[in-house]
Symmetry: C2
Subunit: 405 residues, 2 copies
Amino acid sequence: MAQKASKFLGMLSTEKKNEALHTIADYLDQHTAAILTANEQDLQNGRQAGYDDAYMDRLSLSESRVKEFAQGLRDVAKLEDPAGEIVSDWTLDNGLQVETVRVPLGVIGMIYEARPNVTVDATGLALKSGNAIVLKGGSSAIHSNRTIVRLMKEALENTEVSSDAVQFIDSTDREATEQLFTMKEHIDVLIPRGGGKLISAVVNNATVPVLETGVGNCHIYIDKEADVEKAISIFINAKTDRPAVCNAAETLIIHSEWLAENKEALVSALNEHSITVYGCDRAVNEFPGAEKATEDHWANEFLSLDVAVKIVDEAAEAVEHIDTYGTKHSEAIVTENAQTAAQFTGLVDAAAIYHNASTRFTDGSALGFGAEIGISTQKLHARGPMGLPALTTVKYVMKGNGQVR
Amino acid sequence: MAQKASKFLGMLSTEKKNEALHTIADYLDQHTAAILTANEQDLQNGRQAGYDDAYMDRLSLSESRVKEFAQGLRDVAKLEDPAGEIVSDWTLDNGLQVETVRVPLGVIGMIYEARPNVTVDATGLALKSGNAIVLKGGSSAIHSNRTIVRLMKEALENTEVSSDAVQFIDSTDREATEQLFTMKEHIDVLIPRGGGKLISAVVNNATVPVLETGVGNCHIYIDKEADVEKAISIFINAKTDRPAVCNAAETLIIHSEWLAENKEALVSALNEHSITVYGCDRAVNEFPGAEKATEDHWANEFLSLDVAVKIVDEAAEAVEHIDTYGTKHSEAIVTENAQTAAQFTGLVDAAAIYHNASTRFTDGSALGFGAEIGISTQKLHARGPMGLPALTTVKYVMKGNGQVR
């Protein structure tokens, strides 16, 4: 049904799609009470299940949060419509006119966890770019999601977008998710949004193409020739501004010569921000109270005020460490040496490489994209922060008057 | 080893990469005899195994074929280098400079069948775009491929490109191929080149991202309002120009009203070109000697002078048939009605849609791309004929002076 709906949605004008987004936004606003009632049920179940505060916060909706995601739809309506853009056009010697036109991908499968706002955000981005969407949210948010989707579909009844363009997998069954993995004939792309486990389950098991988003095991490398103020403020920002997000720093790599000069300043900044160090053998000796880092510390995100610290004697060692443990998200070097920076930028394989700036800028809104579907850590199709064009492909449209070869 | 080599290759200048391509080309020319000797062994084994003529032709090399693929390398050297291109750049209000730079994918895994020239062609495209390559050719060509790769690696010893940038899986073992499927840490993309079975084995089993190429179950729809001359010449060209290629037509869909007017002309063209018809029930009645088409006929490529024929009463039926059986490669409508054409173009989901022209133009060289890695029938990353840029991704490179969020 989503596939069929996507065909007609793909041919609708930008205006009609925007009207639909506004209609949904207004309808959600009007039915805030129903959404909050459903959410209360999820919260109650969550409390019984003993979820932690951070999880409960992600799960919980309020009048202002509903207003926020309804407004988000109106903001998406304002964005440029990528579908229909003529990407390039030329005419062959024989007169055949060639156009590459940006078109919607078709049907997007969204697999996500606790946050019910993703239900609305993802639907908005999908519809704006002319795609149908199949939503599979986390079990813990099923009452909220079910109600939100019902309301969105009701709203669509009064628009030119078919309500079939939004589909909800109303199941808490793991098998329901796994069925989506292989529906290659009906789903054009799967987008997992959530933790590393969810993402790797999708990547490793899906035959439907996946847009891999999110896990950021990001490193800050403070080079021998790093400016001390820049180095410390960049690291502290990347580590502490929002420790739980994917563009936060997780490992600090420090050149031994820089550390010898600036240890005191760094240690006092770490203390001031209550950062706990897990170090390599050398770092354990240098940092008071540091524990030894485990393989898990090097390889995975802390998403907290903890950091893994490694001391190196040359930039190449930093690059090698990032090669081994990085997740190809965001990596930074702090140095006043342009050549060292260029080597780092060239050799490190990641979506975003920073020279003398915080990794926190790998973000659609920080870069001015308006809305963001996620941050791609894969190399094919889209890399880094993904705006609406990531939900499109191209089509060659050829117009002739009988040309043959 | 390929991965390590790819890092340095990715940073080499276009000039150095071109020098390497010329060095390989000259070296292959000089060692034509060794290549032909090895090929003779494959041919001998092929004759013993009783391969058919078409297969033996694909397997066989000659002095002129060696010259051709060596020259191919020099032609690739002339193409624009996609790596290093600044795709976009802007500066944020805080002064952070943002650039998106085109960079090589890294390591390309090429899995292919009988043609030993793919060994050289794929290596040329990979090296030019700054990628290392892992080659897994068909067992029947192993002697040819082994010798060609040895020569290419010897040639690279005298260049700035590491000979590790070209790796050969010297095995006829199916497990060796399957190991490539999951080497996500070491291979950035797999490109299968060959028949439908090979491609679907890779697509369905690989966790490494795949660039899906090639299978083209292409349709020509002759609309009610089709010009008779255009219709017949387009169909005959698409069916007979090179029946074994992926952009050849496999099914003809005809509007009943057009057929009623133009049956005689069509039948005589079919006869003239010795085309065998497998039809739907109505077509069996209309076309003398036609057999009934099976599900297999509708769903798969003939790659011969056979065609499946379906008669419909409206354009929407044609679109539906293509939806069901098409492989999203190339689809054509012949009509003088611009609105019908626009509907067809909008509703049909394929890499290339033709209005009044032959599907045979879905081809890198016909479209002026220079070299072609293959024709993508997937939607993500690259669609339709893929030139060198399909072997690249982008990297965000951010230059700051201490920016934090």
